[in-house]
């Protein structure tokens, strides 16, 4: 019987129960969002006693299905004030699944203001004081201390200094199989974890048995077909492993959709210096690792070890959005400097997208000069120092914009707009405007269809077809985020129908079900509706589904503007 574990951080007690019937058929984002919608008071303070933090593995996590090791984290977001699901790689989720834990729920506030390490294993839940040397420390050292103490193979979820300071952009970091860092980056869930006095959660699956499969032969054959789709599609089989997500810099630059200097234009002259091709060549030349997976069983392996000139590790999971934000939006034409910034984000435990966009806004405000790598690093390091300016930066792009009186602040629902100019990639603009998550490219990645010509083609500069595209992608994504699958599987299954069928077949074989593709769509709709309803009860209206007015300015080189009517925007999620 799947377990549902509630942990009260006020009393430091845990209640291990059977999974309630209403959550039995849910997992991943579906579970976290339905749970938050059910149990969290929508008007609560995100750092207060009524908020809850929930972790859930996906439907297929812990099985032999490739790329199924993602973990969903949910809560009311301190950044957006709305519902949040943020997911991550790392080892934690697979260990949860093997322990047959459907969800870990953290409730209450600590009585003494001290930080605890919560340990979960086959015998239950225990609470330790956080070792003094990890409080205020960087996440890399903290993971080492925790894995020395609890075992080299345990899964670790932790907050860094940003989460301890309860900054609105603080993330939750997860140890990957090598003890490096992956993050549930967006929306400030690290601040929620910090508010509950949780420095780290340790998960030890020693003694756990394999995840049960109801129809093993059928599962095996579907898993093979699914893996085949991922390895044969050129994006997941070749492009991502070779260049990482940063392969997107040059294609967005060519398309005129690479926001440069705080969204003033969509193309720049130095893009190739920071792009995936240059990055892969640099890593190879220095003896780093161009490809590795963020969790066991990943066959896409889009991550890498970016190393310095001496071949020493700087960072991994060095993503397009981070590199875009510092390299183009903040005009820092220096991949090494961006890598050191990415390392500091991981150390301090803060969203690398939000904070990098905030750096660009700070440059626009004249706090530091455009493109000044050293000044940017100094500014980012102020987060760990807890200076007033560091804390403002750590509360995101909107906070910086407000403090300095700017109107050119690229956020929706207070969350920074990533990496794709909505005037030149209009489909994703609709996703930014309408997703209940706040501006989030992953919520309905219309870039695939607008720019990459994956899953069909819709002209990025026109309005036609974009409403339906964003809607359908948002529905599909809510479902995929429930499977435990990496979202990048979508590149393959959008083009290879048997890949999608195999995904559904695996879920059916795992749980002895007979779902169809329509059921998957229905699940996605149910999740989105619950999320939208939570936000409505939290005070959100369609007035919050709007892009900042500076997007009325033409965006060179195409000089297109954001021109959807309110009615068109409001029709995206009217289903």
């Amino acid at each position: 019987m799947a377990k549902f574990i509630r942990i009260d951080m006020g009393t430091r007690t845990a209640e291990i129960g059977a999974c309630p019937e209403k959550y039995a058929g849910l997992a991943g984002r579906g579970l976290t969002s339905m749970f938050i919608a059910d149990e969290v008071k929508p008007t609560c303070h995100p750092l207060g006693k009524y908020n809850k933090l929930v972790f859930a593995p996906g439907f297929l996590t812990g099985t032999s299905a490739v790329n199924s090791g993602r973990i969903s984290c949910g809560a009311k977001s301190p950044l957006t004030g709305g519902i949040k699901e943020s997911n991550s790689g790392g080892s934690f989720s697979q260990k949860m699944a093997r322990l047959d834990i459907k969800a870990l729920v953290f409730e209450g506030l600590p009585a003494d203001g001290k930080y605890a390490v919560v340990k979960v294993d086959k015998d239950g839940v225990t609470f330790d004081e956080a070792p003094a040397e990890i409080v205020g420390a960087g996440n890399y050292d903290a993971i080492k201390v925790l894995q020395d103490k609890y075992g080299p193979k345990v899964g670790v979820a932790l907050i860094g200094p940003a989460g301890e300071m309860k900054l609105s952009a603080a993330n939750i970091s997860f140890a990957d199989p090598e003890g490096n860092i992956r993050s549930a980056g967006r929306g400030g869930l690290g601040a929620v974890m910090g508010s509950k006095g949780i420095k780290a959660v340790i998960i030890d699956d020693a003694g756990a048995s394999a995840v049960p499969i109801a129809r093993p032969e059928e599962f095996k054959s579907a898993a093979k077909r699914f893996a085949n789709a991922l390895t044969t599609h050129p994006v997941t089989g070749q492009g991502l492993p070779k260049y990482g997500t940063n392969v997107l810099v040059n294609i967005l630059n060519e398309a005129g959709g690479l926001p440069t200097e705080n969204f003033r234009r969509g193309r720049n002259e130095w893009a190739n210096n920071i792009g995936g091709e240059t990055m892969a060549a640099t890593i190879e030349e220095r003896g780093g690792k161009t490809t590795h997976g963020c969790h066991a069983g990943c066959v896409i392996r889009c991550s890498q070890h970016y190393v310095d000139k001496q071949g020493k590790y700087i960072t991994s999971g060095f993503e397009y959005e981070t590199i875009w934000a510092l390299g183009a939006d903040a005009a820092i034409d220096d991949l090494d400097a961006i890598a050191y910034a990415d390392r500091e984000y991981d150390e301090v435990g803060i969203d690398s997208i939000e904070t990098s966009v905030a750096v660009a806004v700070a440059m626009d405000a004249g706090v530091i000069p455009w493109g000044d790598a050293k000044a940017a690093l100094d500014l980012i390091r102020q987060i760990r120092q807890g200076t007033p300016l560091g804390r403002i930066l750590g509360c995101g792009a909107a906070a910086v914009g407000q403090m300095y009186g700017l109107t050119r602040v690229p956020v929706v629902k207070n969350q920074a707009i990533p990496a794709y100019d909505p005037r030149a990639v209009k489909g994703v603009g609709l996703t930014y405007a309408t997703t209940p998550m706040g501006a989030d490219h992953t919520a309905g990645y219309a870039v695939a269809t607008n720019i990459l010509r994956v899953g069909g083609f819709v002209d990025p500069l026109g309005k036609e077809g974009q409403v339906e595209l964003s809607r359908n992608l948002q529905i599909a994504t809510a479902a995929v985020d429930s499977t435990g699958m990496c979202l990048f599987i979508a590149f393959a299954i959008l083009d290879i129908p048997d890949g999608f069928n195999a995904l559904v077949d695996m879920i059916n074989a795992r749980y002895d079900l007979s779902l169809t593709g329509d059921d998957v769509t229905a699940l996605g709709k149910t999740i989105l509706k619950a999320e939208l309803d939570f936000n409505r009860r939290a005070g959100f209206t369609s007035a919050h589904d709007r892009l900042p007015e500076f997007f009325e300015e033409p965006c060179p080189p195409h000089n297109t503007v954001w021109d959807f009517t309110d009615e068109e925007i409001d029709s995206v999620l009217a289903f």
Partner: protein
């Protein structure tokens, strides 16, 4: 006719050694350029001419900026 050509990702190896300037005497289409560079047309998944998506048979004009990509993705 002189155009600018940029080959990215796995097509980078076909980038002319002399730089981005490409001479196409008498004009031609994207397809002509692709063949002249020695690229198998089926390797090209996304084509931009002056930042706009273009088909393989798009006729090129003096000064055009041509970007050639294999299938790529990320996010």
């Amino acid at each position: 006719m002189i155009i600018t050509v940029k080959c990215y990702a796995t097509l980078q190896r076909f980038q002319p050694g002399g730089g981005e300037e490409f001479s196409l005497p008498g004009g031609g289409t994207v397809h002509d350029v692709v063949l002249a560079l020695g690229i198998a047309p089926e390797e090209v998944a996304v084509i931009f001419v002056n930042g706009l998506h273009a088909p393989m048979d798009k006729a090129l004009a003096e000064g055009d900026r041509l970007g050639l990509f294999p299938a790529v993705g990320g996010g």
